[in-house]
Symmetry: C2
Subunit: 314 residues, 2 copies
Amino acid sequence: MVKHRATVAAGTTSPPETEGRLDPNFTRRVIETMGPNVAPRNRQLMASLIHHLHAFTRDVELTNDEWMAGVRFINAVGRISSGTRNEAQRVSDVLGLESLVDEIAHKVVAEGNVDPTSSSILGPFWSPNAPFRRNGDSIIQDPAPGGRVCKMHGTISDLITGRPIPGAVFDIWQASANGRYDFQDPDNQTPNNLRGKFRADDNGRYSLYCYRPTAYSLPTEGPSYDLLKLMDRHPMRPAHIHIMVTHPEYRGCTTQLYPRDDPWLTTDTVFAVKDDLIVDFKPLRGDPKAELELEYNIILSPKDYKGRPPRALL
Amino acid sequence: MVKHRATVAAGTTSPPETEGRLDPNFTRRVIETMGPNVAPRNRQLMASLIHHLHAFTRDVELTNDEWMAGVRFINAVGRISSGTRNEAQRVSDVLGLESLVDEIAHKVVAEGNVDPTSSSILGPFWSPNAPFRRNGDSIIQDPAPGGRVCKMHGTISDLITGRPIPGAVFDIWQASANGRYDFQDPDNQTPNNLRGKFRADDNGRYSLYCYRPTAYSLPTEGPSYDLLKLMDRHPMRPAHIHIMVTHPEYRGCTTQLYPRDDPWLTTDTVFAVKDDLIVDFKPLRGDPKAELELEYNIILSPKDYKGRPPRALL
């Protein structure tokens, strides 16, 4: 056997006692395989991604079966995605990623004691095709059993001057009383039901009729639900109204509004709730079209406003 | 405007000067949303995954557009995957992940000066259906233009005793001279072309005919290729032969063998080359069936062999 062992051993060298069990240069080598023609930002992104992916893998000593389960999961995410279902977005939402990205992009800490309206995640249900409607119109095209009509109104104003912003566009979308958006629910809803854009008047005011929103569950099948089950988490989003407020001279604000009594506020499955987005729906008298009222004022910061200098990131 | 500002400000509080720009508790809150019924290992995996995913996102201050590009990438990976194309595995290979997982699982540092044969990644082309063939048979069912036939043989032996391991199963698969595996190339190859299992004889020996392997490119379309282009990397795998050697009483060894003169050894697109897996193909005389010879001996460690105690991971 001496010859046999020598033959094989020729190509191998035992690492010195001082080395760890894993090759300490592996991650650096993978990163350094990038060529010279990578855009600087892409090099930064990929180096950091590879670094953290490998650090995760080492930290947990990821097994082959666990890695392969991850591979199957990623493939399944793409397979179930479609024009009306963005599963990769949903998975990243469930892991808090969209909310974190939103915070990084939009967190403005004002110098005074008023902050601009907090942003929150866009989610997968915004549509670029929502029609303009007139102030005072309703976005309810298809009345739904159990839906409680609400008159919603408010002023859109400037963070610095406090002045109204005439012409600002107030884009609103929400699920119906059954917890579904129009394009998830073609049997009950016509396109653009519960969607609409409103242009603020000369006093920066908008008004419309919508539903008090209804809490709903993310789909209870598919990879994102499998992930929630693995983490022993519920699939509920608190009831919410989506809004996106824009004006060419201001930073846009995409956000969501939540009724104060919703039971899912602190465990929102996509982590999109912020304190100043929690609102009170009040009884409305004297308006035959609605039983509730919601006043919500929006504050936008000018495009060139920087706020307090940001501190170093965590 | 006083009333307006007061109304909105009621729900907001500016963070104290001492706080950073981002909520320092966000990641912990996402992790702590996991319920009480999560298996301990799954809790560890998901907590570490969320931690590293958020750390990456903060480190690079990931923008909304970059995040959405990632979402679209994940969806595209799943959409292009099929029974014969595992794109998520390929993407993870290109990022070095399968190779790292393999190293974590299989790195055994022997106590003596002989190591067991190094493992390498399985890759997406192994088949559970390869037929048993007889020692001395060829795995070439469909001769290919340019293929150089090689007689491959060797001994499978025990790391501790040096004794042969009769009955060990030597499973081999390789791409044809055009760089394609049977199920990627149904027009030119019959099922199980260039695949076969061989049982080591009483002396632990196996022998067969195969091709000197040919370097090939990963697919030059699809998400994994897009990722390689982004990183200014080539899509080439060095020429290689896959083997998987198993016996019920030993730790199996799945690995790959590479010709020493291959130009892609140091930049293998999936980072699967290790020193003791680089081999020499030698001219063969006196055998009309082959022009080359490769002797490769395999050393397996017994199932209960632990090697030197592993050190702490990086």
